[in-house]
Symmetry: C2
Subunit: 361 residues, 2 copies
């Protein structure tokens, strides 16, 4: 810490992004990006005219993008806000929405960024323990006295609450804001967007980074009551009136209009996920029932760290955490079928059962 | 304010971005954008490969962009940080660098965003009055007890401190951080970048939004001691590890490499500025000695608000503030020579001296 740094932020742990690729042949299954390129609509939408126009500020209301999102979800434009990635929206949420005590609740194991934001902006953070099977018990979130933030599906487990379970949480917290982060929500979980009309204490956050194949464009969006969205925009306009750059507004708008491609990519990922989960289970892995674009898996006799390291030596990156409850697990992003075949081959190698498999062919 | 909004942020005034263009024929001289398109290097650098790769997160270290900036300013890469526009960097600066009392000093009239950030993040803001001629007196900033933030040139005046004057402020505040915001620094003022090696309490902020013709790409950069940059990155990595999107990293890198185009655009703007200032003075305006890409001018008998409104009726947007000390002035961005000829023609119309000018031809 330098001599001018504020003591207040000394304890902030920087979020550790997944390791970048060092070699071209590396298979990157550690940051939950889509294995498929951006929609062809995106390439077609970015031309010389738009690039020349980079001289102009981006539209602070991001009108085109908001319109496309609202239309897609059958919402009014007053129910949608956009940010420079959902990370920016989450930071604004943690800043903007606090009761007097500044309490915020989220699961002990979830997206690490919630903890960072809570430490920076909130009075106190309460990490709610997961159940034995790494599940979130809705009963633990009923009748609390602060903002509640839940990733659904949760990361790194991939386990999802049903819409009815979230609805129970919403009913039991009518005076608390409940934020449902659906970053991974398009891969099988029930979205809570249909609950927005009914619950003014619900804010749903989604992103273009996973199911919309645009992690590098940095676009997130929040959906909720016009009152919540107005507050989000109020604080956004104070800090980043032009938070989304021109090309990302264009890319996001084009991508949101290409629903066929969106659905195809999701279905491909889900199909691959089920095939890989089945095969890993056959190999002896315990694999949680993921509704996300990743699998959370452990092998009884192989530590998560050892498996992660062994894969790394074979140029395959997956994510491992030293957190005691999940130290045996690794999180594996679903890549293309070819990449996942490589993962399975490497895994058989590591387990020493390659010959058996080969002889079966 | 909605029922969940934090009371702490209730007094935040949203920054009011310049009015967007309503009609195609509108001449937009209200937000200090460059009238010239992005460098041709930018268009050439964004191809299908890069757009397909939007599926991947942007490099959290923005290595290519940092390298290009460091090379251009003959700095080490450890002396450069980048942000989603200089607004994001400024917000991080106000968050990260505070003494125990959280005091921050800046001129009473300057970039409004400093006030927003100070209210959100700092213990107390002290707005230092300008001199009678709207000048910043370096003596007012010597021996203070908090962070000092100065736009140089200042906005909306366009007046600049010399490097020697900033050096005096730095010497008299060896225990305070001094932030010099050079958003408009390329149009004639002396940059303080050469002072970085000598003063560990200096942080210089620049942007791609003005002189580098990329307002819509949202890229700002900070230059200072490795210690300051490390602290900036520490807090950036906690909040926005992937703060700059992939296409803006590419656009910024390409633009930074095209120094010939950069210099040509600046020289064109400066030439136009001097010609327009001279003509406005001939018409009877008081025009401050701007070192920026805008002019700050007033006409004795015409209020700033009336002039701004009259121009708007002729489809020319300029910026006016109701702040008492500058209520007589308007801020006029330097556009192309053709746009400025339109401005001058409209101004003559408004003053009722068109016929005279025409008869002189």
């Amino acid at each position: 810490m330098g001599r001018f740094f504020s003591i207040k932020y000394d304890r902030l742990r920087p979020y550790e992004p997944g390791e970048p690729i060092q070699q071209k042949k590396t298979i990157k299954l550690n940051t939950n990006e889509s294995p498929y390129p951006a929609s062809p609509f995106v390439y077609r939408s970015i031309d010389q005219f738009e690039i020349d126009n980079l001289r102009l500020y981006s539209d602070p209301s991001a009108e085109k993008l908001i319109k496309a999102i609202a239309k897609n979800f059958s919402l009014d434009e007053s129910q949608v806000a956009v940010g420079n990635g959902s990370d920016e929206l989450l930071a604004l949420v943690f800043m903007a929405f606090q009761n007097q005590e500044g309490r915020v609740y989220f699961p002990e194991l979830t997206y690490e960024f919630y903890s960072t934001c809570a430490e920076a902006f909130c009075g106190s953070k309460i990490e709610v323990p997961l159940g034995d099977e790494l599940t979130i018990d809705p009963a633990d979130y009923c009748g609390l006295d602060g903002t509640i933030v839940l990733a659904n599906p949760n990361t790194p487990t991939g386990l999802a609450l049903t819409r009815a379970q979230v609805e129970a949480i919403l009913r039991a917290n009518s005076d608390n804001l409940v934020v449902i982060d659906e970053a991974y929500g398009d891969y099988g979980a029930e979205s809570c967007v249909p609950l927005i009309e009914q619950f003014s204490n619900l804010l749903v956050i989604q992103t273009f980074s996973k199911s919309r194949n645009l992690a590098g464009a940095r676009i997130g969006f929040a959906m909720g009551s016009p009152e919540l969205i107005q507050d989000m925009n109020r604080i956004k306009r104070a800090f980043h009136p032009h938070n989304i750059n021109r090309l990302s507004v264009i890319a996001g708008t084009a991508s949101m209009k290409d629903q066929d491609y969106f659905k195809k990519c999701i279905n491909d990922v889900k199909r691959t996920r089920e095939a890989v989960a089945k095969e890993l289970r056959t190999l002896g892995f315990t694999v949680l029932d993921s509704q996300a674009n990743f699998l959370f898996a452990r092998y009884p006799s192989l530590g998560g760290g050892a498996y992660c390291q062994a894969l790394k030596e074979k140029n395959i990156l997956v994510k491992h955490s030293d957190s005691p409850k999940i130290v045996d697990y690794v999180r594996i992003t679903i890549g293309t079928p070819e990449q996942m075949e490589q993962l399975l081959k490497a895994t058989r190698d590591i387990l020493g059962i390659e010959e058996l498999r080969d002889s079966e062919k």
